[in-house]
């Protein structure tokens, strides 16, 4: 019990006072990429557009894991177009996993908020200001995108995929009671120091990593807000998730069930 109390006061003391000037706020978007040559310029363009339209200070950090398709070369072109203060290239030699990509990205992030998302255009980014507003509204530590609430939803999913998604979400809600409706979504905004603390705690890989982040956040008494998001199925390229998606999901779920 003592440790829970300690983490609560720690978390509370780290929360900056409310109503701080938004002019100081800067948002660092972390984009881990692997073979996203087609999608990367489009997502960057969309991000730049919605950030500049709402006058939000931002930077986009591209962490390419040595993609063989030339993602890095496209990223270099983007850096030239938008400038090295907006687009930061922080590539790594080979594919090393999502968790370490975020650690790597945070090291270079100069913003006080970090947005993490997939670079595959599966998240509709035109409503990007929403999580930013939501965070300010409730002074949340984390704002998580959800497909299961409000106007949120999916596009291009057949009945089978919908049933699996809803079923998996139902079981997760029953077993973990995580306090957030979408655990496997990967469109989130974090306070930088909160993300840093959470990543240190999380041990899962890949798919389960996103789940663990939210579950641990609840354990550590961080506040989580939610905004509806549209998940538009991959426009270009093949989904990287294979047939063992369900097995690894169940394994991860049971691990979290038994350890948190």
């Amino acid at each position: 019990m003592a440790s829970t109390g300690a983490s609560r006061s720690l978390a509370a003391s780290q929360r900056p006072p409310q109503g701080r000037s938004s002019r100081q706020d800067k948002y660092s978007v972390l984009l881990p990429t692997y073979n996203e040559r087609e999608n990367l310029p489009l997502i960057v363009w969309l991000l730049v557009k919605s950030f500049s339209e709402s006058a939000i200070n931002y930077e986009i950090i591209i962490i390419d894991d040595g993609s063989p398709d030339g993602t890095r070369e496209v990223a270099e072109q983007l850096e030239k177009i938008y400038g090295p203060d907006r687009i930061l290239l922080r590539p790594r030699e080979k594919k090393l996993g999502l968790g370490t990509a975020y650690i790597h990205g945070i090291k270079h992030a100069t913003g006080n908020y970090v947005i993490i998302m997939d670079a595959d255009l599966s998240h509709h980014v035109s409503n990007l200001p929403c999580p930013v507003m939501k965070q300010k509204e409730g002074n949340f530590d984390i704002v998580s995108g959800t497909r299961y609430k409000g106007n949120g939803g999916v596009y291009g999913w057949d009945l089978k995929r919908k049933i699996i998604s809803r079923g998996a979400n139902f079981i997760t809600q029953i077993l973990l009671r995580p306090g957030a409706s979408d655990l496997t979504g990967s469109f989130r905004l974090y306070r930088k120091e909160v993300l840093q603390k959470l990543i240190e705690k999380c041990v899962s890989k890949g798919y389960v990593f996103q789940m663990e982040m939210i579950v641990r956040a609840r354990q550590m008494d961080y506040t989580v807000g939610e905004v509806p998001i549209s998940f538009v199925d991959r426009v270009y390229g093949e989904s990287k998730l294979g047939g063992n998606e369900i097995v690894s999901f169940l394994k991860g779920l049971l691990t979290l069930f038994a350890t948190t």
């Binding site: 310029p41 255009l121 939803g153 999916v154 809803r166 139902f170």
Partner: protein, 92 residues
């Protein structure tokens, strides 16, 4: 306490209450209709929990929002993005 231990505690509590009542360990003389209901109660609960789960998931699948508008908007933005990026000198 992990979620697993919470569940085990809850199940143990309910299970022992049920066992005590059906075995008559408390020395209570329950009327026959009560005992007849009590004996298969766990099975009833299990079945209704299953029905609740199926009903909830079914309802949520049926009402899962299809974002046609978002998809269309994204497609048009992609065309716009491609044109603008090409103008800025990006080689795809």
């Amino acid at each position: 306490m992990t979620k697993l231990t919470q569940w085990l505690w809850g199940l143990a509590l309910l299970g022992s209450a049920w066992a005590a009542l059906t075995m008559g360990a408390l020395g209570l003389e329950l009327p026959l209709p009560c005992r007849e209901v009590l004996w298969p109660l766990p099975a009833y609960l299990l079945v209704s929990a299953g029905c609740y789960a199926l009903g909830t998931v079914g309802y949520r699948v049926a009402t899962f929002h299809d974002c046609e508008d978002a998809a269309r908007e994204l497609q048009s933005q992609i065309l716009e993005a491609r044109a603008d990026l090409a103008r800025k000198g990006l080689r795809f």
